[in-house]
Amino acid sequence: MSEADRRGRVERVLAMARRVAEASDPLGAEVRERLYATSGLSREGVELALSRHLEVRVSEADLSSLLASTGKAERCHVVLSANVCTGALRAIALAAATAPRIALCPSRRDSALCDVIARELARDPAFAQFGGEVSQVAQIETSSGDEVFVYGRDETIEAIGAALPEGVTLRAHGSGFGLALIRDEDDLAVAAEALASDVVPFDQRGCLSPRVALVEGDDERAEAFAVALHEALAQLGFRVPRGPIDDDRLRAIVAYASLAESIGAYFAGASHGVGLDASPRALVLPPAERIVHVAAASATSLAALLGPFASSVTTLGASGPSPLVDAALSLVPRARAARLGAMQRPPLDGPVDRRAGDFLPRLVW
């Protein structure tokens, strides 16, 4: 398998994705309609996901990094989840870098992007020229030497991993969440606007989605940020409403809101919520429904607050270094670090979740 073939296959995957990103392209129109029916996002939410968060602008450095991040195999199986409707792109790109033969097992709930990219790659002579061969399967069937990527809940990963025969490499991409850090010197309104743009995509269902924001400073500053974030989320939610909420999800929101009201405050919006704990004893992970838990923190209090959650943090969002940010980076050294406002736009430079594997932290500020 030549490096040129690997690169060529990934570039063909990206070419298909670029068509999907375009609303005027038939592929883009098809995926939009299907995602609106299956993803649980509003029409505006689907458009935002495809037009702004599908990783189609890939620098040469990122592509090289992606190619360097994968293993090499004859065959790669990909088991996808339905949390993030654009997640299939990176998964398929990584699989194409890994192996010429790709077996895709999409989520039953939301297979739109996977279906379309797989179908178009199967018809694409250029992809075949690079040795590529793609199929969709309901269940993976592996043999020694294969690689398996599993995206989803930790229980799913564990169950699939336990059933794999010897000699198969499992690359797991489990659940997690994003953590935003608001520095002492940050302008609260600017930081809130940037964070809101990280919360809204995918209705906060992704493993990079920020669900907790820690504010350097005292309780008043944390409250001021909570109010600013509430306003920013309301504005963005007006343009991009949250998808419909079913009873189960409403229960989780009501329970969290009630808790936040008793420990601090809860600011409810039509498409979001912000909970405040200005004097946190422990952290709370709010439901992933565009709900953010805001708490005051300092470099010294961080370890106690973050400790129980440290292994679940996939990405840190901040506007630059500070004692709080430095302390967080030392607690979660394998998390991606991103600027606020870019937490949901990680470069296509390898697996999105860097907690496992030999990836170096990449600071972007």
Partner: protein, 374 residues
């Protein structure tokens, strides 16, 4: 008024109400509501969490007529903020919940300025539901001693029961830090002694401790003389080695040689000061029935809608909202994540709400027993 005078006066009113129950005097719902609202107004001034809830919900406690109007503090709030009407310097005891997946730092805390009302409430209803008319009874306990687990409300309650029954308790769980062991042979020896003397025994323990005991029972004879009864508390909270309530009840009845009706479930929480019991001693229940729990007259359980937190009509399934008058210095109304159906005949416990934090003293026992050699 002295700093704690208002609290003392409310404690006294609650204790009077408990004494009235002991004397067989019925408690009118209006009296319950009036006292509940007095306590709620006191707490809204002094317990920041309730004050915040009252403001957030726009509750107007001065004009309220029913305890249903008191905003309920979620159980999880007890692990995130201090729920107390007094400062920490006035704590005489702090009961703590078990550690959760977040570890010990996130344990719920129920600070007590006085345990007198807790003790009176526990004894009054425990006696009525578990050991009516008894003043001298051998006890066999599968929970740590109070001195080994000073922050366990269960250990506190059990020790009070043992004292009330003549202070003849055999404790067969040894706690040492995070590790606990059950002395299975000790349980068998206590049972043999009771059989020899023909003396009924009150067995008390957590579900997990009982499961551990039953798993290790082997050929040991644990049967007890007629008149013995078993109190089991705590569920399984989504942990491994789950046993259905009916199966555990049957196994305990078989192991201790007690009728099914004398295996009684207790429902208590660190965040509360009163307990519910299966009642009256589960008479008439078949093993397939869901157990029905009875609250003391100073406690009111209401099923509320999980999407609005509004009370549901009797018979509908919702989350348990508990008003406990004995919670004078903390939160009079507590919102749990336990699903219940409340009818005239009692409270059916239907398990935890999806996604709720696993919790409970039974869980702590399992964690401890799993942490070391048995």
């Amino acid at each position: 008024m002295l700093p704690h005078a208002e609290s003392d006066a409310l404690h006294a009113r609650v204790q009077e109400l408990i004494e009235a129950y002991v004397r067989g005097v019925a408690i009118a719902p209006t009296d319950f509501d009036a006292l509940a609202l007095s306590i709620a107004r006191f707490q809204a001034e002094r317990v920041p969490a309730l004050g915040r809830l009252v403001r957030a919900r726009g509750a107007f406690l001065v004009q309220a007529a029913s305890a249903d109007e008191i905003p309920a503090v979620p159980c999880d709030a007890f692990r995130l903020t201090r729920i107390a009407a007094h400062d920490a310097a006035s704590d005489t005891r702090v009961f703590r919940t078990s550690g959760t997946t977040q570890g010990g730092a996130a344990r719920g805390e129920h600070p007590m300025r006085t345990t007198a009302t807790y003790e009176r409430a526990a004894l009054a209803f425990g006696e009525a539901m578990l050991f009516p008319g008894q003043t001298n009874m051998r006890c066999l306990v599968l929970a740590p001693r109070e001195r080994d687990a000073p922050d366990s409300s269960l250990s506190f309650m059990i020790e009070r029961f043992v004292e009330r029954l003549g202070d003849r308790g055999d404790f067969h769980v040894r706690a040492n830090g995070d590790v606990a062991t059950i002395d299975d042979d000790g349980v068998a020896r206590s049972a043999a002694e009771a059989r020899r003397e023909g003396e009924p025994v009150l067995v008390m323990g957590t579900s997990f401790a009982f499961v551990h005991l039953l798993d290790a029972r082997g050929s040991r004879d644990l049967s007890l003389p007629a008149g013995s009864r078993v109190m089991q508390t705590g569920g399984f909270k989504g942990r491994s080695r789950e046993v259905s309530a009916a199966a555990l009840r049957e196994a305990l009845a078989e192991a201790f040689g007690a009728p099914l009706s004398d295996v009684v479930g207790e429902y208590g929480m660190t965040e509360l000061s009163s307990q519910l019991y299966e009642g009256p001693r589960a008479i008439g229940l078949s093993s397939n029935d869901l157990p029905r729990y009875v609250a003391p007259p100073w406690m009111r359980v209401t099923a509320v809608s999980p999407t609005t937190l509004a009370p549901l009509p009797p018979g509908e399934v919702g989350l348990a909202r508990i008003v406990d008058l004995a919670n004078v210095d903390s939160a009079i109304a507590v919102q749990t994540s336990d699903r219940v159906r409340v009818t005239e005949s009692g409270v059916e416990l239907l398990g935890r709400e999806k996604g709720a934090t696993p919790r409970g003293c039974s869980l702590a026992m399992d964690d401890m027993l799993g942490a070391g050699p048995r």
